[in-house]
């Protein structure tokens, strides 16, 4: 039986909630206040109401960044889910040297975004990169990812998939392992084909896992910054910016805290909307069980 909270309960919870309050909650509430004001380094706040939001919505670069974010996030997350599901199914049905294979597949999880950008940039370099030269050697033309925002963002997508596929795979694999094996035996006895078993048993039972993986990955991909910043700096001509880079440029380069904060607050709302399904489910399970 769980007990009703006592004074000691709140003491045990206090370090946790102090950290969250001081570092996440208060600053993000203050960002909302900043977004309703105009300010820069060393200047006071001037109340402007919703002007910053209006300015952001009228800024072509903001829309460019929003569309870029949307395209990269959707692309990255859908590839990861499909490949992650295929890989998890493969592992669950038996691979040789499983422990070793597992370790190798997980490796990119341990790599810093900085290092990931460095190595992919190098391998894709048109004059010295091994991958770029292989593609060229196969007669598919010169690869120069830095020539346009589209190819730059495509490489950002590849790097993102590379670093996060292990996480997606692990989540789905853990969900697969949780499926009761006796279901498969029963289906086998009933003469279900492998395809039927996958579609009738595996997929339906995996829906909650897939949904949580999807939400997690959407939220984390949505805040993407480092890959873009390190690879393209948002260029050429600010055409490959994503929302976090747009925010950074306005906050730390142009010293325009109002615009940056309005963007930030919209990113907060976006993340909360993405998370809402998960939060509602969690609220129910914390109260019910």
């Amino acid at each position: 039986m769980q007990s009703r909270p006592r004074l000691s309960t709140w003491l045990y919870l206090s370090p946790l909630h102090l950290l969250l309050l001081a570092i996440l909650t208060l600053p993000s509430v203050y960002v909302f206040w900043l977004s309703l004001n105009e300010s820069s380094y060393g200047t006071g706040l001037t109340w402007v109401g919703l002007d910053n939001y209006r300015a952001v919505f009228e800024d072509g670069y903001f829309w460019r960044a929003a569309i870029n974010t949307f395209l990269v996030v959707t692309g990255v997350v859908s590839v990861e889910l499909v490949v992650g599901l295929a890989l998890a199914t493969l592992f669950a049905s038996g691979v040789p040297l499983r422990g070793l294979m597992f370790a190798l597949v997980l490796m990119p999880y341990a790599i810093s975004e900085v290092v990931a950008v460095l190595v992919w940039k190098m391998m894709m370099d048109p004059s010295i990169g091994a991958i770029a030269r292989t593609i060229e050697g196969m007669g598919m033309g010169m690869v120069n990812w830095s020539s346009s925002p589209t190819t730059g963002l495509a490489l950002v997508g590849v790097i993102n998939i590379w670093t996060h596929l292990p996480f997606t795979f692990l989540m789905i694999y853990a969900g697969l392992l949780a499926i009761d094996p006796s279901l498969y035996e029963a289906a086998h006895v009933d003469g279900a084909t492998r395809r039927q078993r996958f579609i009738r048993i595996t997929l339906p039972l995996l829906v909650p896992t897939l949904l949580i993986t999807l939400i997690f990955r959407l939220i984390f991909a949505f805040r993407m910054f480092s890959e873009v910043w390190l690879l393209t700096k948002g260029g050429p001509a600010r055409m490959s910016e994503v929302l976090a880079v747009y925010l950074y440029q306005h906050g730390f380069r142009y010293g325009d805290f109002g615009i940056a904060s309005a963007t930030g607050w919209m990113m907060v709302l976006g993340s909360l909307v993405l998370a809402s399904v998960f939060l509602v489910a969690m609220q129910r399970s914390m109260r019910g069980e």
Partner: protein
Amino acid sequence: MMQHIRFSLAERIMRGLFLTFILIWSVAPILFIVLSSFKRQVDIFVYPPKLVFEPTIDNYLRLGSQWQGFFHAMGNSLIVAIGATILAGVVSFFGGYAYSRYRSRLTSWTAVYMIAVRVLPPIVITLPLFPLVDRLGLSDTHLLLILLYATFWVSLNTMIMKNFFDQIPYELDEAAYVDGASEWQLVTRILARLTLQGMAAGSIFVFVFAWNEYLFAMIFSTNQAKTAPLILSELMGAVDGTEWGVLFAGVTLQLVPVVLLVTLARRYLIAGLTAGAVKG
């Protein structure tokens, strides 16, 4: 899910090809860095890449003699990663205990709030924190990075710990109370030992995150507290044609410890993910 399936030859070939592709995809970039760090400058960008070559530790020697700053940064990374791991571990341990043993409408709301704030994009809080930490004298310090990194993991780690505490029967608590133990003794002496696995699982996430993080490090550390990823990103922009080998040596030193950690402790990663995320 153990399905005993017989695969046809065609299927086995398809499965083999897919697995081979994923293995090359995952490992080749890392192998490229590590091997290049042992190559002479002229061998690094030979095409097709050489797998067999005469290894040299010249790059590492030059890294040691020319780039002292890198080792200072590695030290910073270690301090910050260990600090954040310990702080997040302690905080989530007590949080997980409280959420496992006590419940009311208020505790469940605070738990949902705890997860909700975790979804905020990190870059958003840099805007108000940047001027603030300056005034508090916290900019460019280890402490600030430790606080930031730990905070971004306490939510999930508390959920992980809650799930590990949930697996310990309440009868054990009652038995301890009957024997005259205080709650503090129960938590720190008995339950702590039984939830070590959960702490290990949570610690890996924090350590890997703190060791590799770039955004906060770039914004908040200007000199003294620079971490290894930050230094590497600066070197990446600064090296000219002759220094690639040295850069690869630095990258290798940065990535090897944490790659080993992840591969050796993968069991805990799964335990952590299943407890923290899937069960929610």
